[in-house]
């Protein structure tokens, strides 16, 4: 009855490989990690809205869908394989067998149903809970190891949202335990099924875990304990790694030189974000004659940017050449080689061509433009990138009026009619996600939050064509068709030069090689909550 079967190649081998040979007797010491934020620091998955969940909830909770550990993106999780039903209106999730919660209860399909329903509940403030409520019609337990999720309409990308490679909504909670002890006790003494058991959470200070003793499918920890500290100031975090008070600390590119000088190890996570700039409201009636409404001008502005200089000098060499908007090397339904080549050629530095395009568009002497510079929390270097971009634009004769905004204040600007941003450019970011189309929805659909091509009231032919194409992408059940439509979508956005990648950023970690052995990160996932269990002690795998 199933028309398409998405059995992940090499699944069994991957899962087996993930089993570590470590046993309780081999687990020693405490792995101490210093982070800039612990978010809401709640052990209840439905109360955490943002990315820190992947730091401090991931150790204890497994997710329905996991990671491709080597390449990034999606891979097996508690679900070993997942399939779209023949009619495209529901998804089957087949669970691994023999999994247990930390209290010894078996992990079954009933827990999955309970977890998804709890995540969609009124109480939930998980960031994508709203999308789940909109997209899920009902959930059925087929048997102890199979769950069927009925969606509202065809949702070909539905499973992606249940992986921590994308969001947190796939985290699983123990039905029997919560129902027997109550929510308050669950929050105080959470039980999960991950490779680490909860020990203690001191608000504003730290969260501590203890390793599970037996083999775990994600990897059996080599350390006995894991302590995640909240240390907001970066200088202090680096100092802690230098003194050995912490083994690992999150840093920004500004600390790279110091880390190298102190003989610490710099670990980077590729493909965690793109720094981009985008043009707001150029489709609006009042801005149709604006220089920025001309695609030649927008392309010229991209050609004016020397991205290699930004990578070398702003990012200290620790950034990559970008692919198209919101597209990374682990993207699904995407011709990676083609679009990497596109990035290298289309995003080149060519100021002469830029000036020629400006002249062709009728602006040989440049023009005035407004540029809102901002940086998301955790990416302060975006401000420096924005300044560099404005400088490059000045060099081809564009007079840039740059204003700097704190992120919270900036987000107010693009709500509603976007009056103060329409006809202007701004910095922005896209997080590293394997399914680009979700980000394209927010950016370009007329009902999206940014709606750069048009809004629900003012949607020209181009805007309507994009909306139609977008719908085709998200409902294409055939893999080949979906890949082709995705390619068309990427082309349409890339050729519009409306939202343009500047660099592909990384996650940066300072590591004390005497405290932890050499480890690999998961491409695209800055947070290390799914990596701690595979980190060796220094004597097990020296640097």
């Amino acid at each position: 009855m199933l028309r398409r079967s998405r059995v992940l190649g090499g699944l069994a081998a991957s899962v087996l490989a993930a089993f570590s040979v470590a046993h309780a007797a081999d687990q020693e010491g405490t792995l101490v990690v210093a982070l800039e934020t612990l978010g809401g620091q709640t052990m209840d998955p439905i109360l955490e809205g943002r990315a820190p969940h992947a730091h401090y909830q991931a150790p204890i909770y497994d997710a329905l869908i996991g990671f491709n550990l080597e390449e990034g993106g999606l891979g097996p999780g508690v679900t070993e394989r997942w399939e779209l039903a023949e009619d495209g209106q529901s998804w089957f999730f087949h669970l691994q067998k023999g999994l247990k919660w930390h209290n010894g209860d078996p992990l079954t399909a009933h827990d999955v149903k309970f977890s998804l329903e709890r995540t969609m509940s009124e109480e939930s403030i998980a960031s994508r809970a709203s999308a789940l409520r909109r997209n899920v019609k009902s959930i059925e337990v087929v048997d102890d190891h199979t769950v069927r999720v009925y969606t509202k309409g065809v949702q070909v990308h539905f499973p992606a949202g249940l992986s921590r490679a994308v969001f947190q909504e796939g985290q699983l909670m123990p039905k029997n335990y919560i129902e027997s002890v109550g929510v308050e006790k669950f929050r105080a003494e959470p039980v999960g099924s991950g490779p680490w058991k909860f020990v203690e959470s001191v608000p504003g200070d730290y969260v501590e875990f203890e390793a599970v003793e037996g083999p775990h499918w994600r990897g059996t920890p080599n350390f006995k304990r894991l302590r995640i500290l909240l240390v907001p100031e970066e200088s202090t975090r680096v100092a802690m790694v230098r003194t050995g008070e912490a083994a690992i600390a999150s840093i920004s590119p500004e600390s790279i030189r110091e880390v190298e000088a102190a003989n610490l190890k710099l670990v980077t996570v590729p493909g965690t974000m793109q720094a981009i700039y985008q043009f707001w409201g150029t489709y609006k009636e009042g801005h149709k004659d604006s220089p920025l409404a001309d695609v030649r001008v927008r392309e010229a502005l991209s050609l004016a940017i020397d991205r290699q200089q930004i990578i070398d000098h702003v990012m200290y060499g620790q950034a990559s050449w970008p692919m198209p908007f919101a597209t990374f090397s682990y993207a699904v339904d995407t011709d990676i080689a083609k679009w990497q080549e596109w990035g290298r050629t289309a995003l080149r530095y060519d100021p002469e061509r830029a000036k020629a395009l400006l002249a062709e568009a009728g602006y040989p002497d440049g023009f005035d433009m407004k540029f809102a510079n901002t940086a998301l929390p955790g990416t302060p270097y975006m401000t420096q990138i924005g300044i560099a971009v404005a400088d490059f634009w000045q060099k081809i004769g564009v007079n840039v009026d740059i204003k700097h905004y704190e992120w919270g204040a900036f987000r107010l600007l693009y709500r509603g009619e976007q009056k103060s941003l329409a006809g202007a450019a701004s910095m922005f970011r896209t997080a590293g996600r394997p399914v680009a189309v979700a980000r394209y929805s927010g950016g370009f659909q007329s009902k999206g939050g940014h709606h750069l091509f048009g809004d629900t009231e003012e949607c020209n032919d181009f805007c309507q064509a994009y909306d139609k194409l977008h719908q085709e992408v998200v409902t294409a059940q055939d893999a080949e068709l979906r890949a082709r439509k995705t390619d068309e979508m990427l082309t349409m956005v890339a050729d519009s030069w409306m939202a343009v990648p500047i660099i592909e950023g990384m996650g940066y970690w300072a590591v004390n090689p005497e405290q932890v052995g050499k480890f690999d990160t998961i491409p695209g996932r800055h947070e290390l909550g799914d990596v701690f269990e595979r980190m060796p002690r220094p004597e097990q795998k020296p640097w």
């Binding site: 210093a34 978010g39 809401g40 620091q41 709640t42 109360l47 809205g49 943002r50 009124e122 109480e123 939930s124 403030i125 960031s127 994508r128 809970a129 709203s130 999308a131 409520r133 909109r134 969001f167 001191v202 608000p203 504003g204 200070d205 500290l229 909240l230 240390v231 907001p232 100031e233 200088s235 202090t236 100092a239 802690m240 230098r242 003194t243 008070e245 998301l376 929390p377 704190e406 992120w407 919270g408 204040a409 987000r411 107010l412 709500r415 922005f428 970011r429 896209t430 997080a431 979700a438 980000r439 929805s441 927010g442 950016g443 009902k447 999206g448 939050g449 940014h450």
Partner: protein, 305 residues
């Protein structure tokens, strides 16, 4: 005296109401928690849904009405980020900050009183010049920078002290110095100038004529009078300590109310921000009331007025 205290209490309540209103409205002008909690590509539908979940519907005036009604009943709301009563979070962090403030005050008294007195007695001398230098440095050095320098010197380079976080007595040294330095500088200069003025007063001359020992003149008669203006400024300095704790606690990863304030601002956690500032305001108003009462006792002129 009772009338005086009552008058100050009424003034405090009015001030608190003004502070509360300002915090409520200004906080909402700078952004909102919904935007901080949703991913950057969230749709308007997602946003509206989150507004409902967080109970942020209605106009700002509607929300203000609800807030005031709840606040007078002692309910300052539920933290949007932590999903717990804001006052509970405040009181869970308060002890950590209170552990840091007394050492800073003690440091200030131990250093500022002798240096201030000696500077006044040896005006223009080497100690006066050194203390003037310390004062200028103490007031002009950002405590953020001072904290980082101390960490690099005593933790990273010398390895003598833990770099941050709460713990044993050694953990208190650098945060105390960072938080207390501006107090030392301020108190010291104030005591010096106050001492100079007192030393020149008639009652001091009379005491000396009567044959009171120089030690008693300086440390008993002069210092006691010189401390009156210091006492009056103590309330102001306590406010400085609370705001200084924001920076100190951030640098030293100290889970107190200073850092809680910082987190509430960054994440636009209105209920938590309101609770923290209102509680801080109550604390500072209380300290100032205490100072006023003490001042009235110490200075008979105030009492008799």
């Amino acid at each position: 005296m009772q009338r005086y205290i009552l008058q100050r209490l009424v003034q405090g309540v009015i001030l608190l109401a003004v502070v509360t209103s300002i915090v409520f409205f200004v906080g909402r002008m700078t952004g909102n928690p919904v935007d901080m909690m949703l991913p950057e590509d969230a749709t308007e539908e997602d946003r509206q849904d989150m507004i409902v979940r967080l109970k942020l519907e209605g106009t700002v005036m509607d929300q203000f009405g609800v807030f005031i009604v709840d606040a007078v009943q002692g309910d300052l709301g539920t933290s949007i980020r932590y999903r717990q009563p804001a006052t509970d979070i405040f009181f869970s962090r308060l002890p950590n900050t209170l552990l840091m403030i007394p050492p800073a005050m003690i440091l200030a008294i131990v250093m500022a009183v002798p240096l201030g007195v000696i500077s006044a007695l040896r005006r223009g001398g080497i100690i006066d010049r050194i203390s003037a230098t310390i004062a200028v440095l103490g007031i002009s050095t950002p405590n953020f920078w001072l904290g980082i320098v101390l960490i690099y010197l005593f933790s990273v380079t010398l390895g003598w002290l833990p770099s941050s976080r709460m713990g044993g007595p050694l953990n208190y040294i650098m945060p105390t110095i960072t938080l207390g330095t501006f107090l030392v500088a301020g108190f010291m200069r104030l005591i010096r100038s106050s001492m100079l003025e007192t030393l020149d007063s008639e009652f001091v001359k009379l005491a000396r004529i009567k044959g009171v020992s120089e030690t008693a003149v300086i440390w008993k008669h002069c210092l006691r009078n010189a401390l009156i203006p210091v006492l009056s400024l103590w309330g102001v300095f306590m406010g400085g300590l609370v705001t200084g704790a924001i920076v100190t606690e951030t640098v030293f990863a100290w889970p107190g109310i200073g850092r809680l304030t910082y987190e509430a601002v960054i994440f636009r956690d209105y209920p938590l921000l309101q609770a923290v500032i209102i509680m801080d305001a109550i604390f500072i108003l209380f300290i100032n009331l205490l100072v006023d009462i003490l001042y009235a006792y110490v200075d008979p002129r105030i009492r008799f007025e």
